[in-house]
Symmetry: C2
Subunit: 213 residues, 2 copies
Amino acid sequence: MIKQHVAGTVYGVILNDSVSLQRIGSLDEAPYKGAPKAPVLYLKPANTRVACGAQVSLPAGADSVEVAATVGLVIGTAAGRLTPANALQAVAGLVLAADLSLPHASYYRPAIREKCFDGSLPISSVKPRVDLAGLTLTTEIDGQVVDSRSLSELIRSPAQLLADVSEWMTLSQGDVLLVGVRYMAPQAKAGSTVRISADGLGSLNFTIAGAQA
Amino acid sequence: MIKQHVAGTVYGVILNDSVSLQRIGSLDEAPYKGAPKAPVLYLKPANTRVACGAQVSLPAGADSVEVAATVGLVIGTAAGRLTPANALQAVAGLVLAADLSLPHASYYRPAIREKCFDGSLPISSVKPRVDLAGLTLTTEIDGQVVDSRSLSELIRSPAQLLADVSEWMTLSQGDVLLVGVRYMAPQAKAGSTVRISADGLGSLNFTIAGAQA
C-alpha cells in the first residue's frame, strides 16, 4: 500500500527529451563530445519537497525561478535491476511535480544550491497510474499558459529510464523518479502563482515569494 | 536523542582541503576560472549507506574503487541558517565514513552512477563529538596504511561549512554533512579489506567484492 505523500528520495534526469536537445544545441564539442549515453541524473532531497498550495520562498539574491513541469514515477516496492519489460510493475502511482531551479548558466559544477533550495520541489499527492505516452503537461503562471509539453517527446521512456537507473541503484518504496525536465523552462517571478496540470493527474498549485528577509 | 544509525540524507563536499587543490592543479582556466567560492556539494542517497562490516559489490564493469576517508557531522535538530558561531550546536555526533567512487576522469557531468551505486557509503554508528581540527584519518587496505590525512587541511571548517550550506538548505535531524574528501583518494580492488580509523572515533571496516553476476 503506497502512502498518499512521497517519503523517499526524488531523482530527476535532464536532457531526456528532444526539445531540450534542440534547445541546447550541439553537444558534440568538448567536454561533452556527444549526447548523453546514460541518464544524466540529479537528486532532490527531502528539504525540497512541498505540497500543493505551498508558498515557496526564493533563496537570498534570487528574484525568479525556472519552473519545469514533470511527472514522477512513485516506486511501490524495493526495485533493483529492473528490465524495460517489468519496470512499470514497480511503479505504484504518479505525481505531478514542478522542479524549480535558480537560473544558472554553467553545468560544469553540480548545481546543488540552484536545484536543492528549500521548497524547490512542489509535488502533488500520489495519483493512480495513467498512460504517460500521450500525456500533455500544461504550465500556467498567473493564469496564462506559458508552456505545454507532450511526454511523447521523451527520449528514454519511463520503463527504460527505470531499467537504466536501477541497474546500479536500488530504488526504495516511496522514492520517486522524475521522467525529465525541459531545458530552459519558463521562469516565474516572486509574487507569481503557478499551476501545473495534466489530464488524469489533476493539478498542482503554488506561489513564489521573494527571498526571506 | 539521536539514533545510533544515520537515517537522513548524506551531503558531501569536494575540493574542501588544501591537498585536493594542490593535486587538481590550476582551476584558473575555463570553465572553472578559479577555486570554488561556495561549497561544491553532492548527495549520497539512502541506497548508498551500509554499516561497518559490510561487503560492497561493485557495479558491472568496475574492478576498483576510490576510497575517500572522511568524517560526517550528524545533525541533531532541524537546522536552517546556522552561523559559524552556533553551527556546531546542531551537531549531535560524528560518523566515520568511506565515500566510495568509481574512478572517473570528467567532472563535467554529475557523477551520480560513479558516486551513488548501492553500498557506496560505508558509515559507522554515531559517536560522540570530538574536536576535528587535530584529527587524523588513517586508511588501510589489506592491512597496509595507504593514506593518512589530517583534518587541519580543511579549507572550510565544519562550522563554516554548516553555515554556508544551511543558508539555503534546511538540514533535518539524522542528516549528515561529510566534511570533505580528498581528490585522488587511494583505490581498492575487488577482494580488498578496508579499514578507516581515527583517534576517538574507532574504526570502520568493510570489504570490496567484484561486480554481481
